[in-house]
Symmetry: C2
Subunit: 356 residues, 2 copies
DNA sequence: GCGCGGGCAGCGAACGTTCGCCCAACCGTC
DNA sequence: GACGGTTGGGCGAACGTTCGCTGCCCGCGC
């Protein structure tokens, strides 16, 4: 075992400056009345010895750790990463530490992540793991014991949530396509179970209905949130509905897959099929053609969630139990006015299976 | 202030089962000799009360926190994210917690991140912030006090490092181009100060020299690690050296920018210019054309670094101070055999500024 | 019947803090 | 010269653990 080079403590500092360790503590926290002379002596000694306060001990008596537990899903998810960045920055700004743990896609957060956080006595928990939506044990465990803010909808529902306006996202994306003259608009959704997916789909349907356009299950496919999903699922949609001229993808990565799959069919983009994504990832600006998308303010979501959580930790009762952040459309090259008849016919010919 | 609902402690459990709290402690840690009867009684009481051990207090007496400090750069960097994922997973597997903090691109890690970690008495530190390479105060602070493993080269150099074989990465990428018949090969490098950049460039030059090809500063531009860098810098390279037929980008994102910039000049890809990236990001598979790249095992790097760090924490003296992980080439559609004369001429004509 | 060893449990101390209370000395005031 | 207030600093306790030592009681062997 590595000899754990004993850290210097207040007592060491006290010894060196000839006062009681309690006085040292007073000085080092700015409190109490201590003469200028001894104060200086103590400060000096502390810096000579390289004193570093022990937050563990302090937490023990103060009954708060100034630490927030962050339970996250997959780091590789660019959106989540941005959230983390926002949350981390805000926590740091307010002098809080971050205990990080991630939960595996299949795993239950309840069995490892939560206990780990409780043992470390975090002051609050930020939930940023989409897959925990399904964890029914969760809402029970969280109950009333600790301030919690989540970025996802939680089953039991007693927890404060910060999230983008997903319904609006779906609506904006779809309306954009409608305004370009598209009449048959497909949708590639995220994972079915998730609230986010339902909201975006609701927005999609609202935009269609508003304009009296067809909303049909045959126009919708579940594609998840990965490129591979779009790649795999788009052909199915196209086969069933060769008449679609535009596609709303609930996630930018899916849109990337969709673009690739469309190109593979020989379509010219965006003339022969418009695609709009959702999320507003950086990488969406560099697809070919550049992806029209709805920007979700991930960073701000993370930061706002942390801000709210820290307010809760400091004893504020939340006035609002749900914060919804606005989204907005970014128009790029992957969407174009609905093609004129010739284009449509060419596509139909190529599809080669006229519906009887 | 929120009433900090008093947590249940060993004493509470002890009281409920009619033994001393020390005996309770024995039972709950599996140690000591305790009769089956009382053991059962204590366990029962603990679970009734919902006892959760306080790791803070335990750390205090054990003199170790079972927590690792993770100092990272930008979360949005996909490579770094993968590293984090690997490190986090490994730490979790071994029952360690992770204190996360990131350092801003401009900021010095020495002034906030390190003190924060020391105050929390982490057992070791994993450095994953490229920008800390330049922090000269760092190697001094780290000195001998704490086990540290870094993913980046550190100035003073007394610290164990885990990194990919960057020289080999540059070499593999470039040799691939050479083997395709390219004779004038440009390079878009990462940030100049970084060791990584130098290594990859060294590999690039070695591959060229090995085949007796030109290595010239006029073939090299600094582009950083972002898409925008490639986008901005590629035209400069092209203007100076319209004769390049292939480009090695030290980072996939730069390659994405380069592809876009090349397309903007009207070149057909990959026929009129090959591009090879480096990093092996997921997104590289979905560019148009799909990017040939060198895969860097980010996840494994993170995991291995954590594994090594935990070994150090447990008192193992490192036998090797530097672990280098292998990389390998992934061939995709963005590289093609050097174009025949016609293609070259067409490009020259289009460039329109014959060198006198 | 006596001594001894082992199983079981308790006790005190320590880890490094913060906090409230107490005490001594000093000052100025009537 | 006694008194009250202020200032500077010490002391004890508490936070929730772990660990080593001590001591009790019982059973067993001679």
């Amino acid at each position: 075992m590595r000899r754990p080079t004993r850290h210097v403590s207040v007592k060491d500092v006290a010894a060196r400056s000839g006062v009681s360790f309690q006085t040292t503590s007073k000085v080092l926290n700015g409190g109490g009345s201590v003469s200028e002379a001894t104060r200086a002596r103590i400060i000096r000694a502390a810096s000579d010895l390289g004193y570093v306060p022990n937050l563990q001990a302090r937490s023990l008596v103060m009954q708060r750790t100034r630490t927030i537990g962050l339970i996250t899903g997959d780091f590789s998810d660019p959106g989540l990463s941005r959230c983390l960045a926002g949350a981390e920055q805000e926590a740091r700004r307010q002098g809080y530490g971050l205990m990080l743990t991630s939960v595996e896609p299949e795993g239950s957060g309840t069995e490892y992540a939560l206990p780990a956080m409780m043992e470390r006595r975090v002051d609050g928990i930020l939930l940023a793991a989409p897959q925990m939506e399904e964890d029914s044990a969760l809402s029970h465990v969280l109950d009333r014991t600790l301030p919690v803010v989540s970025l996802n909808h939680i089953a039991g529902d007693p927890v404060t949530t910060v999230c983008p306006d997903d319904e609006q996202a779906g609506y904006l994306a779809t309306r954009h396509l409608v305004e370009l003259g598209h009449r048959v608009i497909g949708a590639l959704t995220g994972l079915r179970g998730h609230r986010l997916t339902q909201s975006r789909e609701a927005g999609y349907r609202r935009a269609l209905e508003e304009s009296g356009l067809e909303t049909s299950d045959s126009l919708v496919e579940e594609a998840g949130a990965e490129v591979a999903g779009g790649l795999a699922v788009l052909p199915r949609l196209l086969e069933r509905r060769p008449d679609v001229t535009a596609i709303f993808c609930q996630h930018d990565l899916v849109a990337v897959g969709a673009l690739a799959a469309l190109r593979a069919t020989g379509r010219r983009l965006p003339e022969e099929c418009s695609v709009v994504g959702c999320d507003g990832l950086d990488s969406a600006a560099y697809t070919t053609p550049p992806l029209t998308t709805v920007r979700v303010p991930f960073y701000e979501i993370g930061a706002e969630a942390m801000r709210l959580l820290l307010k809760l930790v400091d004893g504020g009762r939340p006035r609002t139990t749900m914060v919804v952040l606005p989204v907005h459309l970014i128009t790029r090259g992957s969407t174009a006015p609905a093609s004129s008849a010739p284009g449509r016919e060419r596509r139909a010919r190529r599809a080669g299976r006229p519906r009887t």
